[in-house]
């Protein structure tokens, strides 16, 4: 297949709005000389980008599904009818699996990561991934309050910890080490929390600082393609930008990715004095190396908050008065779910909205900061085009600022920011940057050897949101899966796993059989759940 005459933005290969033809053969981008299938897509006047690479979203597994079960009112207002190529489903903030695949693809996204899988429920996450069509996908494995991680951190047994991390990634068929409120999730199992990097975890003589350092070092020494993926302590609380900054700084020189950093960039003493810490966080990012983050941009309207951060969800339940689900997982982790609505006229919500944009706009290197809404925590993923428009147009930001709570103008520097994203910048924060941070060498660019995952848009500067909402074409593995914003093919993507291998020691097996309620032999996720897998080598 040839994509002819398109205007290509491929920042990873320094192509910035040039007319370049792209050649596809057997699902890969190839040199013209290797082309056999001469089918053409005429793309003159269209913008050609690598397929979108989502770095952090909640789309599969137990907490997502508890949210679905808990929120029938969310589904009723957004239904998806079956078509010859599409299964039916429902939205709105917690869409069904098939609908998730279609909506990402319609927007031009072709790779999607479920950012929090409890190890004991990993089989569930993978089972749901089997019903998410089109996109490539995989899971991050939750480890920040795992019993063995805490035990080995306490005992100073780093090699054992590293071996356990490798085994757990192998057993769960996970791709990255996810850390949520390190130590706090274990403390929540007794109704407590931690509030600084040096607090002691209930019943364990370890601190969040030690957990983070150990896991960061393990991820680096195991040569995992992605760094540790950190949801910091004190998420959601006024004044938490300080702990976020400290986390970024103290983890140097290890690689680290701070996720949905908007929720962790708050200044002020309490809700009354709540103010943005976005510019401070951006400054920290600007001067730090080996760090990436995604923003978790707020979208006004309905959201469903869901995270392994159980204590925060309890706080949010009390703040909102909405229904609350909690789900603690033995030996490992937990989860909480609370429906939430972000309102333009609510001062805190409006400042939260400004913070995500501040961090995206004030961080100089777009390879350090990525666009997410921490779907569905700060809003549904299919509203990304709304954010893209705000990033690319200062005028649109000003229009939006007029509609939100007026205090934003005093408590955020957003109104003074002049920067407007170029298409290249946008391609970095949604594709090239995320793929690089994830260590996915065949994604996020259009060079020879890359996967033929491509999105093509009818780009109109006056209607940026509309331009990115529905791709003119989405091509996955060389197959046209979306045309004019509509799914036109039944296609299944791959699940990404690592080639890490490790065994449990006899002692670990004994602890396992004593304190888990499943047999260790029944714990690892079987190959049956990975009918189409892509194994990534760690080196």
């Amino acid at each position: 297949m040839i994509i002819k005459n398109g205007t290509v933005y491929d920042p990873a290969n320094n192509i910035n709005g040039e007319k370049v033809d792209i050649f596809i053969e057997k699902g890969k981008i190839v040199d013209e000389s290797e082309l056999r299938d001469k089918k053409e897509i005429e793309a003159s006047g269209l913008v050609v980008l690598p397929g979108g690479v989502e770095i952090h979203t909640h789309i599969a597994g137990s907490k997502v599904n508890i949210a679905r079960i808990m929120r029938p009112e969310d589904h009723r207002k957004d239904v998806v009818r079956k078509t010859p190529y599409q299964r039916s489903g429902t939205g709105y903030t917690v869409p069904t699996t098939f609908t998730i695949g279609y909506r990402y693809a319609e927007m031009g996204y072709t790779t999607v990561w479920e950012a929090a899988a409890p190890p004991l429920g990993a089989r569930h996450s993978h089972e749901e991934l089997l019903d998410i069509p089109i996109v490539d996908k995989g899971i991050f494995t939750l480890m920040g309050s795992n019993y063995f991680v805490l035990k080995y951190t306490e005992e100073g047994e780093f090699e054992k910890l590293k071996n356990f991390v490798a085994w757990l990634l192998h057993a769960t068929k996970g791709y990255a080490v996810k850390i949520v409120n390190p130590g706090g999730v274990e403390s929540w199992k007794w109704g407590k929390n931690v509030s600084s990097l040096d607090d002691t975890v209930q019943n364990f003589n370890v601190t969040p600082r030690e957990i983070l350092k150990n896991l960061a070092r393990a991820a680096d020494e195991l040569h995992l393609p992605h760094s540790i993926h950190v949801h910091c302590n004190n998420l959601g609380s006024p004044g938490n930008y300080a702990i976020t900054r400290e986390t970024i700084e103290m983890l140097s020189p290890y690689r680290r990715h701070i996720t949905h950093i908007q929720f962790n960039s708050y200044a002020g003493e309490d809700w009354g004095t709540f103010t943005s810490g976005g510019s401070d966080i951006a400054a920290t990012l600007n001067k730090s190396k080996n760090v990436t983050c995604d923003v978790g941009q707020v979208i006004f309207g309905d959201a469903t908050t869901m995270t392994a951060d159980g204590p925060w969800q309890h706080t949010l339940f009390k703040l909102s008065g909405n229904k609350w689900a909690n789900s603690d997982v033995e030996m490992e982790t937990g989860a909480g779910i609370v429906p939430y609505r972000f309102k333009k006229k609510n001062v805190v919500n409006a400042i939260q909205w400004s913070i995500g944009l501040e961090v995206l706009l004030l961080t100089e290197d777009p390879y350090k900061v990525f666009l997410t809404t921490d779907h569905p925590n700060a809003g549904p993923f299919y509203h990304y085009p709304q954010v893209m428009e705000l990033l690319m147009s200062r005028k649109k930001r000003e229009e939006m600022l007029e509609t939100v709570h007026p205090l934003v103008k005093e408590r955020s520097v957003l109104p003074s920011i002049e920067r407007e994203y170029s298409l290249s910048d946008l391609a970095v924060v949604t594709r090239a940057g995320t793929a690089r941070a994830l260590g996915m060498t065949a994604k996020g660019h259009l060079g020879v050897g890359a996967d033929a995952d491509i999105s093509i848009y009818r780009f109109d500067e006056e209607q940026i949101q509309k331009s990115f909402q529905k791709a003119a074409y989405t091509i996955k593995d060389g197959v046209i899966v979306v045309k004019d914003g509509t799914v036109v093919a039944d296609h299944m993507g791959k699940t990404y796993v690592l080639d890490v291998k490790a065994d449990l020691s006899e002692e670990e097996r004994q602890i396992f059989s004593k304190y888990y309620t499943v047999q260790v032999s029944n714990y690892p996720v079987e190959e049956a759940y990975l009918p189409q897998k892509e194994v990534v080598t760690c080196r």
Binding site: H124, W190, A325
Partner: protein, 414 residues
């Protein structure tokens, strides 16, 4: 040959430490399982549906599947029901089939913990996995359930007796049973509190009021219980059909969910429903991730709509709204009020089951299938949402539910 760590396909405990011995493709011994588990494994070959049947005449599997598809595609409002005693792969196919047919699909939760789901949709649910209970619980309450007879190894594996990380034995735990009758489970309890039938809601509401500093009318023994609930380090309430099936139904559960939620102001407290069939949690799970709703879903308009009371099987049958039915791994004739299952005898009913059931006795089409978890692999979800892999320990020539359903899908699409 001994198959170790087999997952038991009977109840929501989903014990995964069963050792099954087979000789010449026959199960000859079962270790670790409870009485019912043993019976399920040892007797799985008895009372089998020997052949596919149409109008009680033996036919080939293909013919039976063909007839079933003909009936279902010609129907104006078909019903698919069952699902809780088969593997998730079959459930996913059944949902796909329902979508293609524009059918109503419901699973056995609607006559089991359906009200629990309705309560959760109103109040949320503060839950945990069973290992959290084993490792941490110092106060365990069983309310309106009788695990000694229904979830036989629950006490031993998950709650009262096992050694956990922070609780070493039964001595470190307090066990309270609340029920309308003195059950076998009540005998294990440190405290048994008997209440009059149909007063669960009143009792729990008064407990909640007492927690808020009101509720003087609460009997002293329950005031004492509330105090202990506030004081414990990690509390858990298990509840069963005593709440969901008696007057008040979802409101009884709603009150219990709110009580536990409110207790988290004082300490750590969780609540978990005692799910009955081994994969009823899986049926809710698969339906939720594909349709958004865990039960009582209708596809007649080409997209999923759910409304228990409208699209739940008992109601659809009682109002005689369906004109064909496909029953998968369930026996509504044994389990539904007689007045509602009568309609199944009036319409063409198709049954997929390994065994002769009361429903297969009145069915127009019967399709024998492999027993999931004994003769077929697949996924099942424990009562607390933990997924485990069911094993195949003996071979059979019969197809799994998933394979039969996938043939039906092919034929419907053709």
């Amino acid at each position: 040959m001994i198959h170790e760590d087999v997952v038991c396909p009977f109840c929501g405990c989903l014990c995964d430490d069963i050792a099954v011995t087979t000789e010449d493709n026959m199960i000859t011994d079962v270790k670790n399982g409870c009485a019912i588990s043993k019976s399920k494994f040892m007797n799985h070959h008895l009372n089998l549906l020997e052949s596919a049947l149409v109008d009680n005449m033996k036919v080939s599997l293909d013919e039976a599947v063909g007839r079933a598809v003909e009936i279902l595609t010609n129907a104006d409002n078909p019903l698919i029901y069952g699902l809780s005693s088969t593997e998730c792969e079959a459930q996913r196919h059944a949902i796909h089939l329902a979508e293609l047919l524009g059918a109503t699909i419901d699973q056995t939760a609607s006559v089991c913990h359906g009200p629990t789901i309705l309560g959760t949709q109103d109040a949320g649910c503060v839950k945990c996995t069973l290992g959290e209970v084993k490792n941490r619980a110092d106060l365990i309450i069983y309310w309106g359930c009788n695990p000694a007879e229904a979830h036989i190894r629950h006490f031993r594996r998950y709650s009262v007796f096992p050694e956990g990380l922070f609780r070493k034995s039964k001595k470190e735990r307090e066990v309270v049973v609340v029920d309308v009758r003195n059950t076998a489970s009540a005998r294990i309890a440190t405290t048994f509190l008997q209440i009059a039938p149909g007063t669960d809601f009143e009792t729990i509401s008064l407990m909640r009021a007492y927690l808020k500093g009101k509720g003087d009318a609460l009997p002293d023994e329950f005031k004492n219980l509330v105090e202990r609930m506030k004081r414990c380090e990690f509390g858990i309430m298990f509840f069963g059909l005593g709440l969901t099936m008696s007057r008040g139904k979802h409101l009884n559960v709603d009150a219990a969910l709110r009580l536990v939620r409110d207790l988290n102001e004082y300490t750590k407290f969780s609540i978990t429903p005692m799910r009955g069939h081994y994969n009823v949690a899986g049926a809710g799970s698969t339906m939720a991730w594909i349709t958004g709703y865990p039960f009582a879903v209708n596809f007649s308009m080409g997209y999923p709509v759910s409304n228990p009371g409208e699209f739940s099987a008992v109601d659809v049958l009682a109002r005689k709204e369906c004109d064909a039915a496909l029953i998968i791994a369930s026996d509504p004739v044994a389990n539904f009020p007689a007045e509602s299952w009568k309609h199944l005898a009036d319409i063409p009913t198709i049954v997929m089951d390994p065994k002769v059931s009361l429903t297969s006795r009145i069915a127009k089409v019967s399709i024998p299938v492999a027993t999931a978890g004994i003769e077929a692999e697949g996924t099942a979800y424990r009562m607390d949402g933990i997924p485990l892999r069911l094993k195949k320990v003996v071979d059979t020539t019969r197809l799994s539910d998933a394979a039969v359903l996938s043939r039906m899908i092919e034929k419907v699409r053709a």
